[in-house]
Each structure stands twice: as structure tokens, then as C-alpha cells.
């Protein structure tokens, strides 16, 4: 009912505006100011042209204002090695974009202001110039070639890191929780698959695989500083996306396949707190692929610390098999019979 009343009021309000406009139009016709035509008068053209001119500069001004207001937030501070090269590419691209953005908009503003319609003036009949056409095809082509090349070099460097002895950590996603799995003393993570999931074994570790016994499963992600880490990603149910904005890292977690991303964290949480002058600063891993009602709350704290602190932390965590009774083994053995899919 309320909504209906609002609509009714809106309708009558607009009717009043319409009638006022009509009265203005009719009186100006009486005063012989307007020829009865829908074509805008010289005055109207001038008015709108000027407004477009001012409006465009207001728009450009707003861009500059927002840019400088949020300058520090324009990409959060980078904390990974490759993050800086991505930021450099970003900076170059932004500069090119801004130049084109300003140039074209200033031209647009000047043209609409200068050439607003006047009575008795005729437009310049000019419709082709192949040299001009060639010129403004060539320039974007050259600029883009450079940009593409630069982008591809960075992409290749980020996706194919040379360091092969990285520490392997598995990131595991399910609605609506993140887990990290560390390899333990044997430096290898054990076999896991969805058919082994049962009870407290949320990640589906195969208890017959001894490599998995010393794996450490945690609810937050600790990374040693300056050491390459290879993250592999799995998902239990739907697609999630592990997004680490400070590390310029994002990778989808897709059920049925394992994805990967390797990088080197360069700044510890403590260093970042000092740098940002914010004692509450924390790195974070967010879910960035729509995954259900609590998608917006699916996150995992991330801590980057010195190697020694990291070692202390990982040693204090219980390995997977600790305290696990034979009952667990039986349970998963039973479950093994159910689905017939092969283990990944």
C-alpha cells in the first residue's frame, strides 16, 4: 500500500512538472520566442554545449580528486616479489589510460562547446581522410603492441616461476571455510580425495597413505618470509577463489581439479604494520567466487613471519594422525566402497 501511494505521489509530481513545462513553452510561443518545432533553438544548443563543456571538466576533476583521495588504496601495498612487477605494469597502463582519457574527453568537450548549432551556419562537409584514418589506427597499434608485450612478459614470469624447491602448501575450500595443509616433516603432502571425507577428516586425506600422517591442517595460513611457496588449491563442493590482494595472487579452487600458484612473500605482517602505520593491519585471504549465502564471510587470516617464528608455529600444530583412533581408519575404509571414482 505504501509503495502504491509513493508511486501515486510520484506520478502526480511528474504531472505537475509536465504542466509547468507546458506553460513555459506556451508562454514563450505567445511571445514569439520559439518556432513551433522540436529542433532545439540556438539558445538551447548553446546552453547544453556549455553544460557539456563544464560537465566534462567537472568529471575529469572528480577523477583527479578521487585518484588523490584514494591514492594510498590504489592497489593495497604489495607484499610479494612478483607483486611489484605487476604494480609497475599497472602504473604504466594507468598512465597510458589517463592520457587517452583526458585527451579524448578534452577534445570532446571543446568540440561540443565550440560547434554548438547556430542558425545560418553550415557544417563542414568532410567525411574521409585515409591518412588520418591510417594515423589513428597505427598509433593505438604501436602503443598496444608495447603494452601486450610488456604484459605477456610479466604474465609469463608470474605464472612460470623459476624456483623449483618451493614449500608446498595446499589450500582447501569448502562452503564456507578455508583450510591450509602443510606437508609436515617429510616435505610431501599425502593423497586426498573427496571419497575419503568423513567426520573430522574434512579434507578427505587417505589414511592409507603414510605421507599424509604428519600433514598439518590449520584454519589460518602462516607463510615464512622470503621463501617461495607453491600453493595448490582444491575444493570440496563448488568453485571458490582464493584471493590474496596484498600478494597480487588469485586462483580458483575448482572441484575435480587441482590448480596452483607460486609466489614469494616479501614483507612480514609486523613489517607491514610498521610500514602502514597501522597496528591492527592483517593480511587476509578472501573468497572471490560466488559460492553461496555466506560467501561474503568466507575468509582466512594470513600471517607472514620470520622463518624461526614460522617453525615455532608449525611445530606447535598437531599432525593429522595424532590422536586419531583405528575407528577413523575403519570409517574411511567403509566409505571407500561407496563411490567408484579413482583417487586423484
Amino acid at each position: 500500500m505504501n509503495a502504491f501511494l509513493i508511486l501515486l505521489v510520484l506520478f502526480f509530481g511528474l504531472s505537475v512538472i509536465w504542466q509547468i513545462i507546458r506553460i513555459f513553452e506556451l508562454t514563450s510561443i505567445l511571445q514569439d520566442k520559439v518556432i513551433l518545432s522540436e529542433l532545439p533553438s540556438e539558445q538551447t544548443n548553446n546552453f547544453n554545449g556549455t553544460l557539456l563543456f563544464i560537465g566534462t571538466f567537472f568529471y575529469l576533476g572528480a577523477f583527479v580528486y578521487l585518484f588523490f583521495t584514494y591514492r594510498d588504496k590504489l592497489l593495497p601495498p604489495s607484499a610479494s616479489e612478483h607483486g611489484f612487477s605487476i604494480d609497475a605494469l599497472f602504473g604504466t597502463t594507468i598512465v597510458i589510460i589517463s592520457i587517452v582519457f583526458f585527451l579524448t574527453h578534452i577534445l570532446l568537450a571543446f568540440f561540443v562547446y565550440k560547434y554548438y548549432g547556430k542558425h545560418g551556419r553550415k557544417a563542414y562537409f568532410y567525411h574521409d581522410n585515409s591518412r588520418l584514418e591510417f594515423f589513428w589506427t597505427l598509433i593505438p597499434t604501436v602503443v598496444l603492441s608495447g603494452l601486450i608485450l610488456y604484459g605477456l612478459i610479466i604474465w609469463d614470469r608470474v605464472m612460470n616461476p623459476s624456483d623449483s624447491n618451493a614449500m608446498h602448501i595446499e589450500i582447501y575450500a569448502k562452503q564456507f571455510q578455508w583450510y591450509a595443509r602443510y606437508p609436515g616433516a617429510d616435505s610431501a603432502i599425502g593423497i586426498a580425495g573427496y571419497q575419503h571425507i568423513a567426520g573430522t577428516n574434512a579434507l578427505g586425506l587417505d589414511t592409507n597413505d603414510r605421507k599424509g600422517w604428519d600433514d598439518v591442517i590449520t584454519g589460518d595460513l602462516h607463510l615464512p618470509v622470503n621463501r617461495p611457496v607453491l600453493l595448490t588449491f582444491r575444493s570440496q563442493d563448488v568453485i571458490h577463489s582464493a584471493y590474496l590482494p596484498h600478494f597480487r595472487m588469485q586462483m580458483n579452487c575448482v572441484p575435480g581439479m587441482t590448480t596452483r600458484f607460486q609466489f614469494t612473500p616479501q614483507t612480514t605482517t609486523t613489517e607491514m604494520r610498521l610500514k602502514e602505520n597501522n597496528p591492527d593491519f592483517d593480511f587476509i585471504l578472501l573468497c572471490n567466487k560466488i559460492c553461496g549465502a555466506a560467501h561474503y564471510n568466507m575468509k582466512m587470516p594470513v600471517v607472514v613471519e620470520e622463518e624461526s617464528l614460522f617453525k615455532k608455529w608449525i611445530d606447535s600444530q598437531a599432525p593429522f594422525m595424532a590422536g586419531r583412533s583405528s575407528q577413523v581408519k575403519n570409517q574411511s575404509a567403509e566409505l571407500n566402497v561407496l563411490p567408484t571414482a579413482p583417487v586423484n
Partner: protein, 588 residues
């Protein structure tokens, strides 16, 4: 059938004239009015979720009025939030900017501008509009399903959309979404085939391909894109339906959900994304090309100047159309796709910037030394040039795989596509409605209200979407119900409030348009035959629309459509029907 003689069809009754009409102009109006209603619904949805985003968890009684159990106590339910986001996107992309834009203007302008009595197949054309209507109706029904409408985002990625245990919206609501979309695709194909055949076969005498207005070129390429890409989405949706109900596993593998392992295994969720974006990316150009065509025509007419680089414009439309089929992977850079494939898609994607830049420069050159008449249509066309530049440029960031890593699925993407395809396409649509209203209803829209509408809209749309770039760069993910759990994003609370303020302001200004549109339909001033002094053939038809378009023979065409302000002519326009004088050279 001799197209040059007007057939007098059997006497029309109420049903054949107003409901099951086979007249392309009536069908065009039916498309437009359906789209207008859809747009209002989708816009209201966006203001609802904007309220939640600006003031998370606060109570707004209006939400309970409209959404009932989904907003108990005026607080939006997180499931319904996702539902609103999903349906808003679906309606806007498919029903408003595909059905509404192509459906309305291809139908209205193709026969009128190529000089045909009607579409090649008026009957299929009628089926197309009714399939369209049916699909919108089914989508509306899905809003009232017990467990809610489809909520997996407009891209409906499985497994989220495939398993009803994954979210409430993946139940009956999802089925209705798929069925609605399948019917919509049938409609789009029937329409598209008609457009292509009409342009290729029913052009009047003298109307060579290089004398076609750029609108028609844009509609032609759009229709071809649709015909080639929509069937792929049809297949993808059908396979999804199979996965949902018949135990197949095209998209499912290794899933443990609802406390049990899923029996379906061996498929790949990434397959769906490939199929979806094979449509999804050309779809972006299906949305923007008609708007660019409309803009070309309106800018030339109102600058009283030939469009600059006519042939370059056609060529760039064709190149954009071609490239649109080889760039879909840029939506999937972070899916774990082979990085080499990522490189290829980066390369092809950034190439799109070249023909786009050519188009922008040609628009600017057309405005240069023109005699610009700022009708509301012209203002919206100029607004499109601005938004096409703004939104296009940020594509250079998103299309670059290395940069996409950090802004993928953030508000930066939301800002980018709302400006480059949402805002641009809807501006093209507004421009088209203001410009061709006389051809739709034989009356004029009110100019003053048009100006109020334009200025209100352009300010609020930029106010909504421009700040979103900054949210996205800071890492705010899209489709989040609230950012309250992230101190990282606390600096953006006020910016979010501003965005919502502009969204509501923008919605109010659309009220001005709606009023103007419906009021002028019945009470607007009667139009003259050629109110804008245009060259194209639609302005040679009588003011009162007529089934068959021309009362006498179909006019013959003697020149290209852009002879504006030609030296040596008394008027500043020369309609296409005027023969060349003896020593006159054709315009281009």
C-alpha cells in the same frame, strides 16, 4: 512476392493488430514496452541491494513491502541478496539490452531503412516477440518460487547452480532460469535470422551495401554474432539441466556436498565456463554494437555532417565482431587455465582496443566543425561516446592477464562493464527512443523533460559506477552481501553510501523518462514527417504508421545516407531518395 506493390492484407481485427501482429513496427513496440517494464523491475532490484550495501544490516521497511519473507523486519536476506544480483544481471543483459535494444531497433529500423515492406518472415518475427515475452514471464514467475530465484550470479557457474544442496536458489528457481533462457534463445535466433535475411535480400533498388546507414550495418553484424553464439549457450544450459536432473556429469566431478559424496564424477566445471563465455563475450558486443550504430546515425544527423570514415566504421564493426569470438578466455584467466592460453587471450583481447579507438576518433572527427543540435537523443549519443571511452580504457587493465589477477571479480570489473556495456548500451537505447519516437508512435516526446532526464541520468550513472573503480582496486570483491568483516575496506564506507545515493537519484530520474514516454505516447505533440531533417528512408514514410510502410511504391535510393551540409545544396540535408544531379559525385 513483388515487394514494390503494397498488398492490402485482410482486414485486421483487435487480435491481429494489437496482440499477434505481424507488422514489424508493432513488434518493435511490443519489444520496447516489455523491455521498459523489465528495466524498471531490474532497476528497483538494484536500488534494493544498494541499500543493503551502503547500510549493511539496517532495517528498511520498503524492502519488506516488496520482498516479504525475504526481508523480514526490513533486513535483506543474504540468499535474496544473491537472488537480486543474479536476476538484475540476467534481466538487464538479456531482456533489456539484448531483447530490448536489438529487438526494438532492428525490428523498427531494418525494414524502414533498407526500404522493405516488412521483415523477410513476419510470422517468425511475431513468434520471436512472443517467445521473448514468454521467457520474461517465466523469469518473473521464478521470483515467486518458495526457495527463491536463481542466485548463482548471472553467469550461473556450476557446481553452485547444478546442485540444489549448494544453495536454496539452485532449486526450482534455477530450472525456471534455464527454461526461460532457452526460450529467450529461440526468440533471439528467430529474430536474428530475420534481420540477416531482410538486410541481405530485401534492400530496395539502389540500396547497395555501401549505401546502408551504419545502424543497419551494426544490426546486421549483431544478428550474425547472435546466430553464431547463442546456440552454444543453449547447449550449455541444456547440459546443465541434464546434470541437475538426469544424473549426467558434464560439469561435475569429485564433489562432497550435503554430508555425502556425489555420485556424478568425471566432468569439468571449467567446460561450462568455456561454453558460457563463448556466448558471453560476443554477447557483450551484441549489446554494444546496436548502440554504436544508433549513435553513429544520431551524431551524423544532429551534427549536420556526414559520419567521418564511413567505410572505416563498417570495417571496425566487422573486426570487432570477428574478434569477439576469440577473446572469451579473458573471463577465465584465474580458473587454472593453462597460462599459455592466457597469453593468447590477452593478445586477442587487447587487439579489440584498435577498432574501438578508430570508432571513437571517427566520432570525434564527425563532431569537429559540425553544427551540433543538442536534442535529447544527441546528448545521450555524446554521453555514449564518453562512457565508451571511459569503460573501454579500463578494459586494457582487465584484459591484461597479469593485471587481471588482482582485479578479477572485484568491483573494478563491476565498474568496467557497467560503464562500457551497461551505461553505453542504455544511453544508445535512450538516444534511439528519443530520436525514433516519431516513427514508433507518430508523436514527439517532450524535449524539456528529455533534458532533465539526460542531465540527471548522466550525473547519477557516473556517480554510481566511477567510484567503484577505486573499491575494486582496493580489492573489494563483487557479490559480497556486506564488507563489515573486513577492516581493510573500512575506508570505503562513505564511498558506498555515495554510490547508493546516486543509484537512488538515478532511479528517480528514470521516473521522468517513464512519464515522458508513456504520456507522450498518447498526449505528445503530433510529429511531422521528418522532424529531425534526416536523410534515411524511414523519414519518407507517412506519420501515421502503415502496415507495409509506404502507401505507394517503395522509394528508390540514389545516394549514401550521409549527405548532410553538402556544398552546393540549399538545404543542409539531401534524402537518399533524391537522385544525383548531373555533375554531382556520390558522397564517399
Amino acid at each position: 512476392m513483388d515487394a514494390h506493390v503494397l498488398h492490402h492484407p485482410r482486414k485486421e481485427n483487435f487480435w491481429t493488430k494489437w496482440v499477434f501482429s505481424q507488422d514489424h513496427k508493432m513488434i518493435s513496440r511490443q519489444y520496447l514496452n516489455t523491455a521498459v517494464i523489465m528495466a524498471v523491475i531490474a532497476m528497483m532490484m538494484s536500488t534494493f541491494f544498494r541499500l543493503q550495501l551502503a547500510w549493511p544490516g539496517q532495517s528498511f521497511p520498503i524492502l519488506e513491502t516488496f520482498l516479504g519473507k525475504w526481508a523480514k523486519g526490513g533486513i535483506l536476506d543474504p540468499n535474496m541478496y544473491l537472488g537480486l544480483v543474479t536476476i538484475h544481471g540476467t534481466i538487464m543483459v538479456f531482456f533489456v539490452l539484448t531483447g530490448g535494444l536489438s529487438g526494438t531497433f532492428s525490428n523498427l529500423l531494418i525494414p524502414l531503412q533498407v526500404g522493405a515492406r516488412d521483415m523477410a518472415s513476419p510470422f517468425l518475427n511475431m513468434l520471436s516477440v512472443w517467445f521473448f515475452f514468454a521467457s520474461t514471464a517465466i523469469m518473473m514467475v521464478s521470483l515467486f518460487v518458495e526457495a527463491g530465484p536463481a542466485s548463482a550470479g548471472w553467469t550461473i557457474y556450476p557446481p553452485l547452480s547444478a546442485l540444489d544442496k549448494a544453495m536454496p536458489g539452485s532449486g526450482l528457481g534455477m530450472d525456471l532460469w534455464i527454461i526461460s533462457m532457452a526460450i529467450f534463445i529461440v526468440s533471439a535466433l528467430l529474430g536474428g535470422l530475420n534481420y540477416v535475411i531482410t538486410v541481405l535480400n530485401l534492400r530496395t533498388k539502389g540500396m547497395s551495401m555501401t549505401r546502408l546507414p551504419l545502424t543497419v550495418w551494426a544490426f546486421l553484424v549483431t544478428a550474425i554474432l547472435g546466430i553464431l553464439s547463442f546456440p552454444v549457450l543453449f547447449a550449455a544450459a541444456l547440459l546443465l539441466l541434464f546434470d541437475r536432473h538426469f544424473g549426467t556429469s558434464f560439469y561435475l566431478s569429485d564433489i562432497f556436498i550435503g554430508g555425502a559424496p556425489l555420485n556424478q564424477t568425471g566432468g569439468s566445471p571449467i567446460l561450462f565456463q568455456h561454453l558460457f563465455w563463448f556466448l558471453g563475450h560476443p554477447e557483450v558486443y551484441i549489446v554494444i554494437l546496436p548502440a554504436l550504430g544508433i549513435t553513429s546515425e544520431i551524431i551524423a544527423t544532429n551534427a549536420r555532417k556526414p559520419i567521418f570514415g564511413y567505410k572505416a566504421m563498417i570495417l571496425s564493426i566487422l573486426i570487432i565482431g570477428f574478434l569477439s569470438f576469440v577473446v572469451w578466455g579473458h573471463h577465465m584467466f584465474v580458473t587454472g587455465m593453462n597460462p599459455f592460453l592466457g597469453s593468447v587471450f590477452t593478445f586477442t583481447t587487447l587487439l579489440v582496443a584498435i577498432p574501438s579507438a578508430v570508432k571513437v576518433f571517427n566520432y570525434l572527427a564527425t563532431l569537429w566543425r559540425g553544427n551540433l543540435r543538442f536534442t535529447p537523443a544527441m546528448l545521450f549519443a555524446i554521453g555514449l561516446v564518453s562512457s565508451f571511452i571511459t569503460g573501454g580504457l579500463t578494459g586494457l587493465i582487465l584484459g591484461d592477464s597479469a593485471l587481471d589477477i588482482n582485479v578479477h571479480d572485484t568491483y573494478f570489473v563491476v565498474a568496467h562493464f557497467h560503464i562500457v556495456m551497461g551505461m553505453s548500451a542504455i544511453f544508445g537505447m535512450f538516444a534511439g527512443v528519443y530520436h525514433w519516437f516519431p516513427k514508433l508512435y507518430g508523436r514527439m516526446m517532450n524535449n524539456s523533460m528529455g533534458y532533465i532526464h539526460f542531465w540527471g541520468t548522466v550525473v547519477s550513472v557516473y556517480g554510481v559506477f566511477f567510484p567503484m573503480h577505486f573499491l575494486g582496486l582496493a580489492g573489494v570483491p563483487r557479490r559480497y552481501y556486506a564488507n563489515t568483516a573486513y577492516p581493510l575496506f573500512d575506508d570505503f564506507i562513505s564511498l558506498n553510501e555515495w554510490i547508493t545515493f546516486f543509484a537512488i537519484l538515478g532511479a528517480i530520474f528514470q521516473g521522468v523518462f517513464l512519464f515522458n514516454y508513456f504520456y507522450s505516447m498518447f498526449r505528445g505533440r503530433k510529429a511531422e514527417q521528418n522532424p529531425w531533417k534526416g536523410n534515411t528512408l524511414e523519414w519518407t514514410t507517412p506519420v501515421e504508421p502503415l502496415h507495409g510502410n509506404w502507401p505507394g511504391a517503395i522509394p528508390e535510393v540514389h545516394r549514401w545516407p550521409y549527405d548532410y551540409s553538402k556544398p552546393g545544396k540549399t538545404d543542409d540535408f539531401v534524402p537518399q531518395t533524391i537522385p544525383l544531379t548531373r555533375d554531382e559525385k556520390e558522397g564517399h
